[in-house]
């Protein structure tokens, strides 16, 4: 580098330093006013700065949203667990409510029939096949249950005790084809015949009804009380259809049972009822005990 070049460089650097010092001194003293260059530069950067600020804002919002999302997800998870727990609790409470209503109905039925000694029993099993209509309950010989006792529910007649062990009993349902019960019409008190099970939970049938019978669709049918087993006046069902038998002289009827056997969970066993000829020995020594808590 030559001597002149160095002197030129020195003067250039000095000029820049002086200019900058002047600028700084003006800025520091506060009497500075932006010149057109400064304004130009500021104006040139302003849009990009605005973009940067917006970007920063947005990034901040995203970050906030992400954090928020994470918190919400955690909260949602907690709520889902809580919901599952509450659903379960609700289900349990519904079960208790349904049970309480059923037991209340049983109690009401029991109070409405003071002449009958009734024993509450819970259904513990049903028929394991498709051919037999029967249930097993948790009361047996030790609780005073004996074979051939009638079984009822607040809705109506359920069936008959078919066999008994020490602590369980098997009950043949009204719809079993082994069961037959004498019936009369509730309104006209007309004796109409014998209702038999059909093997289906939805229907009973009555055969050999006299052609002059007053039996009509919708009539309620109750037990006649002519047998030793069933107390008189228990609802059996409603007449669904009356048809003429093949010989044309007699009528046949289809009866819809009053009890919904598939929904049944508790029943009452009639240990003794008024006007029953056989004595209380049939009921055994513990006839009044009621482990199902109905009494």
């Amino acid at each position: 580098m030559g001597k002149y070049a160095r002197i030129r460089e020195f003067w250039i650097v000095l000029s820049i330093v002086v200019i900058l010092l002047l600028m700084v001194s003006r800025a520091v003293t506060g009497s500075h006013r932006q010149n057109f260059l400064e304004r130009g530069v500021t104006a040139m950067f302003a849009p990009s700065q605005r973009v940067a600020v917006n970007l920063e804002d947005r990034l901040g919002k995203w970050q906030y949203l992400l954090e928020e999302k994470q918190q919400l997800e955690e909260k949602l998870q907690d709520l889902a667990q809580e919901e599952a727990r509450l659903k379960l609790e609700n289900q349990e409470l519904r079960e208790y409510r349904a049970e309480a209503l059923r037991l209340e109905a049983l109690l009401g039925f029991k109070e409405a029939n003071p002449h009958e000694t009734l024993l509450g029993a819970r259904i513990i099993a049903r028929s394991p096949d498709n051919w037999n209509q029967m249930i097993t309950v948790d009361q047996g010989y030790d609780q005073g249950v004996r074979k051939n006792m009638a079984v009822v529910s607040p809705d109506g007649l359920v069936g008959i005790v078919a066999s008994v062990t020490r602590n369980t009993s098997r009950i043949d349902l009204l719809t079993d084809r082994n069961i037959a019960v004498g019936i009369i019409l509730e309104q006209s008190r007309e004796t109409n015949g014998i209702a038999e099970g059909t093997g289906s939970a939805q229907a009973l049938r009555v055969k050999n009804v006299p052609y002059y019978s007053a039996m009509r669709e919708g009539d309620r049918v109750i037990t006649s009380g002519l047998s030793e087993i069933y107390p008189k006046g228990i609802i059996v069902g409603t007449v669904k259809e009356v048809t003429r038998e093949e010989n044309g002289l007699l009528l046949a009827a289809s009866i819809e049972p009053a009890v919904h056997f598939d929904d049944l969970e508790e029943v009452l066993i009639v240990l003794r009822y008024e006007n029953q000829e056989s004595g209380p020995e049939a009921a055994g020594p513990n006839a009044v005990s009621d482990p199902a808590g109905i009494e």
Binding site: A125, R126, P128, W131, A162, R170, R177, T198, G199, A201
Partner: protein
């Protein structure tokens, strides 16, 4: 030796468990109100994998258990399940037990055979259970239901029979072979 007793225990436990489940929990899993016959399924599997004599004896025992439980017409299930097990066991040598179709097909055929035998017995003894139309419908739904159930069940049963708890012991095989010779 200990495994052999476990096998006997399991063979006795399976029909009992089926009976228990059908009388309780399976009541909520009916198809159109129809229950499957779990005991029959196990009798059919046993007959398919062990042969006619085995199937017949196992069917008789399982049927007897069911008859005792029901407490009615002692012998009906014993006879129908015993005969079904015996007749289906005849296919024992013709089938490839490894095929996953053997179980469902066997249960389908066995179900039809059992239904036919049951119906014939009802007719023969004049036992009225329900209307014929309803009975046929129940049989049809039951057979289909059992066939569906047998798809996963056979997979487990076959593996247990070939290499698990249900695998027959050698000395037991010798005993059965001797019995087979005596019978035939």
């Amino acid at each position: 030796m200990r495994l052999r007793y476990l096998r006997y225990f399991l063979l006795a436990f399976l029909p009992m468990a089926a009976l228990y489940l059908q009388a309780t929990l399976f009541r909520r899993l009916t198809v159109d109100g129809v229950l499957p016959d779990g005991i029959l399924i196990f009798v059919l599997f046993f007959a398919l994998l062990n042969g006619d004599i085995h199937g017949g004896v196992y069917g008789l025992c399982c049927g007897l258990l069911e008859d005792f439980y029901l407490g009615r017409f002692i012998g009906v299930n014993m006879l129908t399940k015993g005969l079904t097990g015996y007749l289906l066991g005849k296919f024992n040598r013709q089938i490839n037990p490894e095929s996953p179709w053997v179980g469902p097909l066997g249960v389908f055929l066995g179900g039809m055979l059992h239904a036919a035998l049951f119906g014939l017995l009802m007719l023969f003894f004049d036992l009225y259970l329900m209307d014929a139309g309803r009975m046929l419908k129940i049989f049809a739904v039951q057979i289909l239901y059992q066939t569906m159930l047998s798809i996963p069940l056979y997979w487990w049963y076959y593996h247990s029979h070939s290499s698990g708890w249900l695998k027959p012991a050698e000395e037991e095989d010798r005993l059965w072979n001797r019995m087979n010779k005596l019978v035939k």
